[in-house]
């Protein structure tokens, strides 16, 4: 507990936590389960190239996501690259700049030019209204991004894609287990791409998955990913890659899948604890989940309003980092302001006002197995303390800097 602002670690006080609290999920299965899964792999001596665990994982994902095909990959970025090639995209694709770098970078690797779309300031998603004016004949697809465990406006985006006869696919890295009208993300648009990175609710160390109901696209995806052991249709005239998931990754993902209910509930408890502590704080707004939908609750994300809260998001992240609380700025800066896009497409620099505001406000708090309810109490108390002493802290920060 801080008694005066000099006791803040940023002013050389003792950090609140002895070691850094991670911001991502970092959920691990118990060691015994890890060991037993890997003894199984060693007994089978099957290490990669579409092995039995990857096949089991794909079958279970189909079931869980309610979709015909699940194609597991090395990671979600490579999945996005493969998706762009499988869809035979050309010309331009509409995509938000308020997203993780991989979403846009996948287009560049596939030889596609991004058209950056602004986002709705409340949901943080692109909307049909924002997308429509950007659609001209050069656009071959819309790549929408589900953020923070909430799902985009599926109906509106699907209608507009159908009307213009272009592809619609989703970066669903945040949306495993999340629903729209109680249908889980996985079967929306032409395909959806999930992430199983260690910071996500399903942890395959690294990993990803593409889901689709389209048989033709599924075959193309499997061809481009490379799928030894699968005797499907082989397309000769295709540009392939190596996007295979190993048996090691699949083993981890399967363990994580078994723990999904437990871990998403654990996330929800933490999410709600943060909200109960901080909801009344001026200038602090959590991005919540619609009450009638499901979510994985893996992202505890808030907007910090500089004026009302008293200090800026960047300053808050800086102060908390000194306390060993690793909060993350999302997405700072937006992709339209990052190389190579800021130089290649400078016309977007001043055309995304909502994105720019959100990029300066959004903060992610630590959650997952490693964070206790008591930690959240401590973090929240500290955030309230920072708010209450904001002007003194700012003044002193100014001198320190």
């Amino acid at each position: 507990m801080k008694r005066n602002i000099s006791s803040l670690a940023v002013f050389s006080g003792k950090p609140t936590f002895d070691s850094p609290l991670p911001v991502g999920q970092m959920n691990f299965a118990e060691w015994e389960r890890f060991e037993s899964a890997f003894r199984g792999i060693f007994a089978r001596r099957y290490y990669t190239n579409h092995g039995p665990l990857v096949q089991e994982l794909e079958a279970r994902l189909c079931n869980m996501l309610g979709v015909k095909h699940a194609i597991c990959t090395t990671n979600a970025t490579i999945a996005l690259l493969i998706a762009a090639k499988a869809l035979e995209l050309h010309g331009k694709v509409v995509v938000p700049a308020f997203t993780f770098a991989a979403t846009v970078q996948s287009l560049t690797w596939a030889g596609i030019e991004p058209i950056f779309c602004d986002v709705n300031p409340v949901t943080h998603h692109i909307t049909p209204e924002l997308v429509e004016p950007l659609l001209d004949d050069s656009v071959s697809a819309v790549l929408a991004v589900h953020l923070w465990g909430n799902v985009c406006d599926i109906e509106g985006l699907s209608q507009i894609a159908a009307k213009k006869n272009i592809h619609l696919y989703f970066d669903a890295a945040h949306a495993f287990g999340s629903t729209c009208n109680n249908i889980p993300a996985g079967s929306f648009g032409d395909m959806e791409i999930f992430s199983f990175h260690g910071t996500k609710v399903i942890n395959a160390a690294e990993g990803g998955c593409i889901s689709t109901n389209n048989d033709y696209l599924a075959e193309r995806l499997r061809n481009i990913r490379s799928s030894y052991g699968i005797r499907g249709t082989v397309y000769p005239n295709i540009m392939t890659s190596n996007g295979r998931m190993s048996e090691a990754q699949a083993a981890l993902a399967l363990l994580s899948l078994e723990d999904y209910d437990k871990n998403s509930q654990l996330n929800r408890d933490r999410f709600e604890r943060y909200i109960s502590h901080l909801k009344i704080l001026p200038g602090f707004k959590f991005i919540s989940v619609k009450s009638d939908e499901k979510s994985n609750y893996q992202y505890v994300v808030a907007e910090v309003d500089h004026e009302a809260f008293g200090i800026s998001r960047d300053e808050l992240v800086y102060i908390l980092k000194a306390e060993n609380i690793l909060c993350r700025k999302y997405f700072a800066p937006g992709l339209h302001r990052c190389p190579p896009y800021n130089e290649q497409y400078p016309h977007f620099l001043n055309s995304l006002p909502n994105t720019d505001i959100l990029c300066s406000k959004v903060i992610q708090f630590p959650s997952g197995q490693l964070i206790t309810m008591e930690d959240i109490h401590t973090i929240s108390t500290l955030v309230i303390y920072i708010h209450e002493h904001a002007s003194d802290i700012r003044e002193r920060l100014f001198h320190v800097k």
Partner: protein
């Protein structure tokens, strides 16, 4: 089970010579307790990816092994090559025109890798004896649009490192080696890893070091290394700043643990590989028409791959030979067939000369089963079958001819 007449061949209904498949994949398995000990550190560190401590330890050990200043790991050899080609090629040539010179007789996805990096693969011929690129086969392909030479080592021994390095200097074109098949070889007594501007290796389960999936690059060029480190992690420099185009090509900690465990046993693995190779070499010497492609035993070699050439005195086509072997559970494979220039691609590619050496080579070489699953008894049995095929050549020829008539 000894074959007495051709009806004893599994292809014609006889029992299979091998109960289990013998393939050309290495699938080497390290000691599981050692692997689990490395993995326990993942739990202790609570780090499972993003340039974790095991990845850093692996990179340091590989750099030492290859005698280079830098080693950078990747999620695959494919992604290592794609990023390295993208970073190293000369910039400024019109997009869709810039060329990378590579052999046609190579890994089936090699041209695709160049296309992902935005370059046009330009196929060169190889040397008849080494099956590798030489200054003579590469030089005719160099033109104003050449932005990179990809020096790919063949499956046995090395390509003409000296000749390619001289060409690279003379024309001022960067040189990247694909050393995936060469693994831990030496050139004129020096461990490979620091030739050209960089070299790429694979950690796929079928390769010398089994990391499930994975790859790495070695170089002495600090700037290149720094750029690739950022490139493999979305172009991030530090926590929040993106400074370049990148993607996710990181090796995770579990794959690093597996590779480290394999690395601990590398000497004994190479010893077993050499025993297998010597057994093949000795036995095949007695069989007319099958010539093993010999390793240069004066240099350091890992002896994993077993490559043979079927010469004119061999009575069967390679395809019939493979058909018979596959039926016996011997998954021998054609050597890089079809060559890349014979494949249709959705992107532009180029033959820079007529590849008159590549074509016949692509038709008469094959890889024999090797790696951890293959014992010396297996080698003997495999060679017995080849001897049987040779001795019953006329009869088999008649059989296949009659089948063709049908």
């Amino acid at each position: 089970m000894i074959k007495r007449n051709i009806d004893d061949l599994a292809l014609f209904g006889g029992p299979k010579a091998f109960w289990e498949i013998r393939s050309t994949s290495n699938l080497v398995q390290p000691d599981i307790e050692n692997f689990l000990n490395y993995s326990k550190r993942i739990y202790k560190n609570r780090r499972i990816t993003n340039n974790g401590p095991l990845v850093q330890e692996l990179e340091a050990r590989l750099a030492t092994l290859h005698e280079t200043s830098y080693c950078i790991t990747f999620c695959s050899g494919f992604m290592a090559l794609m990023l390295a080609i993208y970073d190293m090629h000369i910039k400024g040539i019109n997009e869709g025109e810039a060329e990378v010179i590579m052999p046609s007789l190579t890994y089936r996805r090699m041209a695709d890798i160049a296309a992902w990096a935005g370059l046009v693969p330009s196929f060169c011929d190889v040397d008849t004896n080494t099956l590798g690129m030489t200054a003579e086969t590469v030089e005719p392909c160099i033109n104003k649009k050449t932005t990179l030479i990809l020096g790919v080592h063949p499956i046995v021994n090395l390509c003409d490192i000296n000749g390619l390095e001289q060409l690279s200097k003379q024309y001022n074109i960067p040189l990247l080696f694909d050393s995936v098949e060469a693994s831990l070889a030496s050139y004129k007594g020096k461990m490979i890893g620091s030739f050209g501007q960089a070299e790429v290796f694979s950690l796929h389960a079928s390769k010398l070091l089994n990391g499930f999936e994975g790859g790495y690059l070695t170089t002495n060029d600090g700037e290149l290394a720094e750029g690739l480190r950022k490139g493999r992690s979305f172009g991030f420099s530090g926590r929040d700043t993106i400074v370049r185009l990148g993607l996710n090509a990181k090796l995770n900690e579990v794959h690093a643990a597996m590779t480290l465990a394999c690395l601990d046993e590398i000497d004994s693995q190479i010893t077993s590989n050499k025993i297998r190779y010597m057994a093949y070499k000795e036995r095949l010497a007695d069989i007319e028409g099958v010539d093993i492609v010999p390793y240069d035993e004066r240099e350091k070699r890992s002896f994993k791959n077993i490559l043979v050439k079927l010469d004119n005195s061999w009575p069967l086509s390679r395809e019939h030979t493979l058909q018979i072997l596959h039926a016996e559970n011997l998954l021998a494979r054609p050597y890089y067939y079809p060559p890349l220039h014979k494949k249709d691609t959705p992107y532009k590619q180029k033959m820079c000369n007529n590849l008159h050496i590549t074509e016949p080579l692509s038709l008469n070489h094959m890889l024999l089963p090797c790696g951890e699953f293959v014992s010396v008894e297996d080698v003997n049995l495999a060679v017995d079958i080849l001897a049987f095929l040779h001795d019953h050549g006329m009869e088999l020829q008649k059989h296949f001819a009659a089948e063709e008539v049908k």
